[in-house]
Amino acid sequence: MSALTLVEAVRTALARAMEEDPTVLVLGEDVGKDGGVFRATEGLFERFGPERVLDTPLSEALFTGLAVGLGAQGFRPVVEFQFDGFMYPALDQLVNHAGRLRARTRGRLGCPIVLRAPYGGGIRAPEHHSESPEAFFAHVPGVRTVIPSSPAKAYGLLLAAIRDPDPVVFLEPKRIYRAFREEVADDGTALPLDRAFLLREGRDLTLVAWGAMIPLCLKAAERLAEEGVSAELVDVATLKPLDTGTILDSVAKTGRCVIVHEAPPSYGPGAEIAALLASEGLFSLLAPVARVTGFDVPTPLPKLEDVFLPALADVLAACRAALVHR
């Protein structure tokens, strides 16, 4: 066991996957000698060589499609996008090909690819470097969208994503890439996909979040505990397919739900979860389902980022508002 940061856990999982399976390839911009702009692939080029770690020419549309071809040929390409804001060209390949190659060919060709990207705000980055595009990907049939919230989750979920036979978009919350360390055993044990994790048990209220919003919600839960409120925390982890059971069970118990995400609210993942509760959990609700999110505006540059991103005060305010309903 060693205490790793989230980005180190990603690197460790990549190395483990490459070690155990020679079909795993790492592709992208600056993933070779440079080790990726966040150093997530540092050392892999030296260790696995230029036929396993490939710097591509600068084109996201290209390397997404390239992965589809490699995947159909039995490789397991793990593609790195440098930043969230440069993922949008991947949508064509994801919607028209990656997500439906298996279905179109009735199982004849698969698409075992992983698209990794640092995502989200909070690091005062330039324009197009702080986006939360998870809803776009979660909307694509045939594609999984997975977001780890800690080093151990990153390690286990990335291994699972790489071993999975279908396409996975793996969004890494860059704000917590190096925010804290966690003991991670590099023993090749994957965590399950399609399952939410109950990170904290409580009776009065359910917080639902993912990625960098998890540490924030943990803090909120601790603060609420000081006020005598017992909050449960669900880490969604796989946004699609959504583990509805864990969320419904939790809200059946607590009767209140606050969903927290950075992305804009409209048609966002929070809306999906709220709809789930409206259709399948209505009779256990004691309070309206609340969402704490960004706004329906382009992610602002750093000077206004703090206003856009949900903060502890916003989460606490939403929780207190839900608790008014007794």
């Binding site: 440079d34 702009v37 710097d55 084109s59 804001g85 329906d296 206003v307 856009f308």
Partner: protein, 369 residues
């Protein structure tokens, strides 16, 4: 077998790295005051870049991309344009933006994390800095199409990097420009690197200029560290486009002497020896040597210019640092021409959050909520 197509790519060099002439000067460059204008613009750009990097290092600016060593590409390109042309930069063309009237304070505002920096006082039709690599090339084609449809003698000038030439967007724009004979000139700022990826890993082609051939337009290479050659070659391409003869690509070969951005450490992937060797070719020293040789420049004038440009940068930095932060309503008030009624609630929520953040800051004295 018959040969049905062949091509040749020319390279233009006028001023050698040592400041001597490799070819005759164009007529406009016989006037030393014209050259001094170009020299001043490059010096100002370098001082701005140096200051911007320092501001970033001291926590007063966000990540920023220096154009150290590439000043001649931006300045030469802008000097070849007319004010009414439209410029579509990527993110390393500050030299051109300043030439066209964007203010240093506005550039700093943008890189300091405030969109108001892109609503500049200068060339109102010019496009903002484009960070997603190469995605502005189709915009240049659109601007050029507008000029063509309105029969205006104007040209869309876009700058992309060597890395950007690998993007479909860029090829697609060039392809259309060729088919529609658009008044669009693309300057490829080939600084040999796309972060850690060398030019040789982007394309197997000998030059980037030759990519023009497949799109049915001329492509030419120029020594991008020679501001005289850049201005001359880009100017010919622009005037040709203006007269209705269609688009062109100018590949300006240069070298990125700085890290990719302040977030990069280039020593991870390239040798110091390579960089030192390239310092001998940088654009400012060679033009200075030439001007000195012509008796048009000396130590006094150099010192005066440096003092003047430093003052200009310092004043801009003061103005930037003194600028009041953007009100939170900024983030929503320009999303649509008129705020949709349905978004009024979000606007109020934004203002509420901003007020709470300010209160929290005042309470705990910290910058972050």
């Amino acid at each position: 077998m018959v040969e049905i197509a062949s091509f040749r790519i020319e390279r233009v060099e006028i001023l050698r790295a040592d400041g001597t002439l490799a070819a005759p000067l164009p007529a406009w460059a016989e006037d030393p005051s014209e050259l001094v204008r170009l020299y001043r613009a490059m010096v100002l750009t370098r001082l701005y870049d140096t200051k911007a990097v320092n501001l970033q290092r001291t926590g007063r600016l966000g990540t920023v991309a220096s154009s150290l060593g590439q000043e001649a590409v931006a300045v030469g390109t802008a000097a070849a344009m007319r004010p009414e042309d439209v410029f579509l930069p990527s993110f390393r063309e500050q030299g051109a933006m300043l030439w066209r009237g964007v203010r240093i304070e506005e550039l700093l505002t943008f890189w300091g994390g405030d969109e108001r920096g892109s609503n500049w006082s200068g060339p109102r039709e010019d496009f903002p800095i484009c960070v997603p690599v190469g995605t502005h090339a189709p915009h240049a084609a659109g601007v050029a199409t507008a000029f063509k449809l309105r029969r205006e003698p104007r040209v869309a000038v876009c700058v992309v990097g060597d890395g950007a030439t690998s993007k479909g967007d860029v090829y697609e724009a060039w392809n259309l420009a060729g088919v529609w004979r658009l008044p669009m000139v693309t300057v490829v700022a080939n600084n040999q690197w796309a972060i850690s990826v060398p030019r040789s890993a982007q394309t197997a082609a000998t030059t980037l200029a030759q990519k023009a051939i497949a799109c049915g337009m001329p492509g030419i290479q120029v020594d991008g560290n020679d501001v005289i050659a850049v201005r001359e070659v880009v100017s010919r391409a622009i005037e040709r486009a203006r007269s209705g003869e269609g688009p062109a690509i100018v590949e300006a070969t240069t070298y990125r002497l700085s890290d990719h951005t302040t977030a990069d450490d280039a020593r991870r992937y390239r040798d110091d020896a390579e960089v030192s060797a390239r310092w001998k070719e940088e654009p400012i020293a060679r033009l200075r040597a030439f001007l000195v040789g012509r008796g048009a420049w000396d130590k006094d004038r150099e010192e005066k210019l440096l003092a003047e440009c430093t003052r200009e940068v310092d004043r801009a930095v003061e103005a930037y640092l003194a600028r009041t932060p953007p009100p939170a309503s900024e983030m929503i008030d320009h999303v649509f021409a008129v705020l949709p009624r349905a978004m009024a609630g979000q606007r109020a929520a934004i203002l509420r959050r901003a007020a709470e953040r300010a209160e929290a800051r005042a309470e705990n004295g910290s910058g972050r909520p």
